[in-house]
């Protein structure tokens, strides 16, 4: 059985027009030692998916409205807070996009990583300090003893993100969720951080959910991919198959619109996807991509397509793909 399986998940938020679903009917699974890439633009629901798994949707503004999140045999939806807190940071951890805003500026790096142990009842003290030091060594931070005493603003972005990863690994989790972990970093540092996550996946058999909008990162660092658009998964499959033979018009358009290094021919223009990403309040009974789709048929506007297998392990939610 998969370590994590998300089934028909829907999460809604309060809007002026009433509750609206930011994600709807999202299903996927992740195995131990596997990297699942979730690709999407802002508003696609990829971060909401991650926050829903972590149980971090603020009940004041939103809630999981349907579906299940089964982690190691247990449904996380509706789990009492105390049980969720025992899992979070211990068996499921998350690395956020912007390490500077995810770290507390008032505490040293050593104190913040140590807090994970304190929160799970292991207390502070010399033993915890030694464990923190080991974690910093695990993520290859040079001069770990020095970094321990530094505040977040005193170290570089790459070092901060490593400290975040060290914190996420405090108890060697089974599942690591990384939400755009390198978007705020320079390319040379990005390579260091992604290679680190990949090494830890192999050494510690982590299951990883890697959320990104970068096609290159998907191609190099994921095993399987789920492409999200407008709160739904529109296509999913093995990374290699999906990137070389995408079936959904959105995936096809996205791959064609992204400039690739060394692929330019003189005078050539990039392929555009017209229009813009739909907002959460827009009511679209059919396919959410239909207003921007070149292959739109009348059925697309009326009825939402479900994911259906188009190639071994590869599924797309599209009426046009089905007809083709």
């Amino acid at each position: 059985m998969a370590l994590l399986s998300v089934d028909n998940l829907a999460t809604e938020f309060n809007t002026q027009a009433g509750p609206r679903r930011a994600i709807d009917g999202v299903s996927f699974s992740v195995e131990r030692g596997e990297v699942l890439g979730i690709v999407g633009e802002s508003g696609s629901g990829k971060s909401v998916t991650a926050l829903s798994i972590m149980g971090l949707i603020d009940p004041q503004v939103g809630r999981v409205a349907g579906g299940s999140i089964t982690f190691d045999g247990r449904d996380l939806v509706g789990l009492p807070l105390a049980e969720l807190q025992a899992l979070r940071g211990k068996r499921i951890s998350m690395v956020f996009q912007e390490p500077l805003s995810a770290l507390n500026p008032c505490f040293t790096i050593g104190d913040q990583i140590g807090e994970v142990f304190v929160a799970h009842g292991d207390g502070a003290g010399a033993a915890t300090r030694a464990r923190v030091l080991d974690l910093l060594k695990l993520v290859h931070i040079p001069d770990p003893e020095g970094i321990l005493r530094r505040y977040p603003h005193e170290i570089s972005g790459g070092m901060r993100q490593r400290a975040m990863i060290a914190m996420a690994l405090a108890y060697t989790p089974d599942l690591l969720i990384a939400d755009e972990p390198t978007t705020a970093l320079d390319v040379t540092i990005q390579a260091q951080v992604l290679n680190l996550i990949d090494r830890l996946r192999r050494e510690l058999k982590l299951a990883v959910i890697l959320i990104t909008h970068d096609i290159g990162i998907v191609a190099q660092y994921t095993d399987r991919v789920a492409v999200m658009y407008g709160g739904r998964i529109v296509e999913t499959g093995p990374a290699e198959a999906l990137l070389s033979a995408p079936r959904h018009p959105y995936t096809i358009g996205l791959l064609a619109s992204v400039p690739r290094l060394g692929a330019r021919r003189p005078g050539e223009r990039l392929q555009e996807i017209p229009g813009t990403v739909p907002s959460i309040t827009e009511i679209l009974p059919g396919c959410r991509f239909a207003p921007r789709c070149a292959h739109r048929m009348s059925r697309c506007v009326e009825q939402a397509p479900a994911l259906a297998e188009r190639a071994p392990g590869q599924a797309a939610a599209c009426w046009w793909t089905e007809a083709a």
Binding site: E41, S42, P142, S156, G157, G158, M159, D186, V187, T188, I189, Q190, A191, Q192, L194, N195, D198, H213, D214, I215, G216, I217, V218, A219, Q220, Y221, A239, E240, L243, S244, G253, L254, S257, V258, P259, R260, L261, G262, A263, R264, R269, L270, Q271, E272, I273, P274, T276, V277
Partner: protein, 324 residues
């Protein structure tokens, strides 16, 4: 050199240094050389890319060229006129010829002005057109960047990110500039929207005979839109030349590392590149000799002692003791 040589912009030995705040009046003065002896030039109709990691000085360079900052050394010649220390009317005249497109279209537009007013603002400030003429010109520009006359009456919050960046571009074009500097023009936009803006910039360049300086950390975008590229490391240009030359045969180890760090879009070409180690050094205490030597795989004693001179062969500049 002058305009007859087809040179729109010539920057020579440009230096911008900032004093570091002292903790006591008895401490020795120290300076950060954010831009340290940079030479670039731009022909009419040409696009130059500027690439470097955060903190390398690329934005300071742009601000000096636009004369938002007065450089502490070197020369900036625009269209045959020395504007390095221009003031008053001369500076305003120079500003008409060069305009800026900002990175973040959410932060750079006044939320209280309608789109047409935003585009008209530079005309009101720097042109001699009547109000009606200025309005008509602003409307024309709004249409030129792909928005409608009806949309021109809306406020920034009613537009998507891509549409806002179109307004930013229309605003930059209001005064018929010869040179447009764009600092990360698409990095704040959704991936599926980026192609629209890059294609718009390319179309406007052809139609209006513009020259661009494009600052980006995304090498694929530089590859797509630029004719030549300058790679900056810690305030100095380490390599400069035609994009096709520099990206297909990079000769400086830093350029090679940058290109190798970009994740390849083809999952069948998985490779774990030898990542470069370490972070950008502290600019207040740059390493002696070549600033890149602590991270360079080819560094020798010579690199630690002596900063390399720039050598040029076939228009390809390189500053390295051991180029490939």
């Amino acid at each position: 050199m002058s305009a007859q040589d087809g040179l729109l912009l010539e920057v020579s030995d440009l230096t911008m240094r900032y004093a570091v705040r002292r903790r006591s009046p008895f401490e020795a003065r120290r300076y950060v050389h954010a831009v340290n002896g940079i030479d670039i030039h731009l022909r009419h109709g040409e696009t130059l890319g500027i690439v470097g990691e955060s903190g390398c000085g690329k934005t300071t360079l742009a601000r000096c060229i636009l004369r938002l900052l007065e450089p502490t050394g070197g020369r900036i010649v625009l269209n045959g006129r020395d504007i390095t220390h221009a003031k008053g009317g001369d500076l305003r005249a120079a500003r008409r010829d060069m305009q800026f497109v900002f990175q973040d279209p959410y932060a750079s537009l006044d939320p209280r002005l309608r789109a047409v007013e935003l585009v008209r603002e530079p005309l009101d400030a720097l042109s001699t057109l009547t109000r009606a003429e200025a309005n008509e010109r602003a409307m024309g520009l709004v249409e030129k960047v792909g928005l409608t006359r009806a949309q021109a009456q809306r406020y920034p919050h009613q537009f998507s990110g891509g549409q806002r960046q179109r307004i930013g571009i229309a605003r930059a074009l209001a005064l018929n500039p010869k040179l447009v500097l764009a600092d990360e023009p698409v990095s704040a936009l959704d991936v599926s929207i980026r192609a629209q803006i890059l294609n718009l910039m390319a179309a406007l360049r052809e139609e209006l005979g513009l020259s661009y300086i494009v600052i980006s950390h995304d090498l694929a975008i530089i590859d797509y839109v630029c004719d030549r590229v300058a790679i900056i490391y810690l305030g100095r240009i380490v390599e400069q030349g035609k994009v096709t030359d520099v990206f297909s045969r990079p000769r400086h180890p830093y350029t090679q590392a940058l290109l190798a760090a970009v994740p390849h879009h083809d999952p069948r070409q998985r490779r774990r590149t030898a990542e470069i180690v370490g972070d950008l050094p502290n600019p207040t205490a740059p390493p002696p000799g070549c600033a890149f030597h602590p991270r360079c795989p080819k560094a020798t004693d010579l690199c630690k002692r002596l900063a390399p001179q720039t050598t040029t062969t076939d228009g390809h500049d390189i500053a390295c003791h051991h180029p490939d």
